[in-house]
């Protein structure tokens, strides 16, 4: 029942398989289960939206895939190769799975261009001029022309997000991990960001693992919504978004969009109420 097109436009690598993952934290001696036997199968090239109330553990899952934490039990595979599992609890962070952070992690002391060129420059496989040529080209493609020599602190936050995404794409990652990147933006900028992201996606098909609590954002962008329960998190309901790509903002007012929204909303509200009553602190 996948809504992914089965043609040559889809990438062959970047499939993530999360198998029965458990993550238990131990802050100050009180064992807290953040992720509870979570299993998710993400095919290559899918935009998978992880939706859930704040603090339920979605970021923990993302961090485990990225390699910032280890897991307590279970396995995570990237294209049938094991990322982490028993015996190797913590994955290595790497440029095949790049994270776009909530508050943005562009290096404020480097210009936008230098930021974008950072990954390949560290890898050292291409020459400096090759890297910078590619970087400039990608910036023009993403509509960032003219901001090359500015510092991140000098441009708008929407623009910063785009720079960060281009920075990630320079490394031709298999997976992009988004941790509520547009949370702090106003809704007008957000819509622009969404369309920009989709445009970038259509040109560079990668697997996208996107955490959000904004249902509209989730349905607009995603192939699939995975609605998580409140802490400890595990998939509660999967909603297929069978609206065809390429999408634009007119999708937002289509009847099918409304239907999917209603279907998802019931579940999300239920979990949100549970989280509220449990006094969950923002993750």
């Amino acid at each position: 029942m996948s809504t992914l097109p089965k043609d040559d436009s889809m990438p062959t690598t970047g499939a993530i398989r999360i198998e029965d993952v458990v993550k238990v934290y131990d802050p100050d001696g009180a064992a807290v289960m953040a992720v509870d036997h979570c299993s998710i199968d993400i095919p290559a090239g899918e935009i998978c939206m992880i939706v859930g109330p704040s603090g339920c553990g979605k970021t923990t899952l993302l961090n485990t895939i990225a390699g910032f934490h280890g897991l307590t039990s279970g396995h995570i595979y990237l294209d049938d190769e094991i990322l982490c599992g028993p015996g190797k609890e913590k994955a290595e962070p790497g440029s095949d799975r790049i994270v776009v952070f909530q508050n943005g992690a562009l290096f404020p002391w480097k210009t936008n261009l230098d930021n974008i060129a950072f990954g390949p420059m560290m890898a050292g496989k291409l020459s400096k001029s090759e890297i910078y040529d590619k970087a400039r080209k990608m910036m023009i493609d993403a509509g960032l022309e003219g901001t090359e020599d500015s510092f991140p602190g000098e441009v708008s936050s929407g623009l910063r997000r785009r720079v960060e995404i281009v920075r990630a794409l320079m490394n031709e990652p298999k997976v992009l991990l988004f941790d509520e990147p547009y949370r702090a933006l106003d809704s007008l900028t957000k819509s622009v960001m969404h369309e920009a992201l989709l445009e970038i996606y259509y040109k560079n098909k990668v697997t996208i693992f996107f955490i959000t609590h904004d249902l509209e954002e989730a349905i607009f962008l995603g192939h699939r919504l995975i609605i998580m329960s409140s802490r400890p998190c595990r998939p509660k309901k999967i909603v297929e978004v069978d609206i065809p790509h390429p999408r634009d903002y007119s999708v937002l007012t289509s009847p099918r969009f409304r239907e999917i929204m209603n279907e998802a909303k019931v579940v999300v509200n239920e979990e949100a109420r549970k989280a509220f009553e449990a006094g969950e602190k923002e993750g």
Binding site: A66, G67, F68, P93, G94, S95, R97, I98, V99, F101, N103, A105, F107, P108, W109, K110, F118, G119, M122, A123, D149, F151, G153, E154, R167, A168, N171
Partner: protein, 283 residues
């Protein structure tokens, strides 16, 4: 470059708006109050406590006279000789302390292991007031210059190392995580994230460090030096040439302030990104 023009324009704008505000006038009122209090209490009202204090007119005529009564004024070469000697000592001590303290602080902040070994030892020495080292310094180092420079170095060193270390600790973890994601090695992350990220804190530390350096230098010069501003003040007291004391103090104030400002300007120059970022936030 258009960016440096913008910085220049911003500075000009700031200066002109400062001149238009009440600030400069209030400032002069403040100076006026202090100076008139000094003048009146010593020369006009001749308050009992202030009897032996050098008078404002006495100090300033002495300071600016071509043939000073006691020997030091802006026209005498000895004056500049003493200033130069103090400055030279500060330069040796400060630069040595920076050259040793910044790398040490960076490594202590970066490597948990190193910190566990070295920080306790460091913290054992830090509470000992720098001046308590005077006798030991005299015993260990021959000559009269080296102990003074050593003391000044010590004070600077502790301040710089500590602030640098705290600076590294304060860097948002997401920056290093982003670097790892993009494929940077630990060492590359250290060079491209930790060092630039800690810069603002390093420079704040350096400003503290130079203040502390002057503090120790003056004390050292008063106790065991020959020449130098501290020496002038002490000698002037012993030889009952009280106006010289004040000249020494004022000179110290001016030079101390200037060196501190030089550190701050150096910091601004090295951290263009921060200056622009702060300017845009309307600071």
């Amino acid at each position: 470059m258009s960016q440096s023009n913008t910085t220049m324009n911003l500075t000009m704008y700031r200066i002109s708006s400062w001149l238009k505000s009440p600030k400069p006038y209030l400032m002069f009122i403040g100076f006026g109050c202090v100076l008139s209090f000094w003048y009146f209490s010593v020369e006009v009202w001749k308050l009992p406590r202030f009897q032996d204090m050098p008078a404002l007119t006495e100090v300033f005529t002495e300071w600016f006279s071509e043939d000073p009564y006691y020997g030091l004024s802006v026209y005498t070469p000895e004056y500049y000789k003493h200033i130069g000697i103090s400055l030279r000592r500060i330069a040796y001590a400060f630069f040595l302390a920076t050259a040793l303290g910044v790398p040490l602080g960076l490594f202590l902040g970066w490597s948990q292991k190193l910190r566990e070994y070295i920080f306790p030892l460091f913290e054992l020495f830090r509470p000992i007031p720098v001046l308590a080292w005077v006798p030991l310094a005299i015993i260990i180092f021959s000559g009269s210059e080296t102990p003074v420079i050593f003391l000044t170095f010590l004070a600077s060193f502790f301040a710089t190392t500590l602030n640098t270390m705290l600076g590294v600790e304060s860097i948002d973890e997401e920056y290093s995580r982003a670097a790892y994601c993009l494929g940077a090695s630990r060492w590359q992350t250290f060079v491209h994230v930790v060092v630039p990220g800690a810069m603002p804190f390093i420079f704040t530390g350096l400003q503290i460090s130079i203040g502390v350096a002057w503090f120790s230098l003056v004390a050292g010069e008063m106790v065991s030096g020959q020449y130098g501003l501290g020496y002038i003040i002490n000698t002037a007291y012993i030889m009952v040439q009280y106006s010289q004391i004040v000249i020494g103090m004022i000179t110290l104030g001016i030079i101390g302030y200037t060196t501190s400002a030089m550190v701050r300007v150096a910091g601004d120059y090295m951290m263009q990104w921060r200056v622009r970022e702060l300017a845009l936030s309307g600071d």
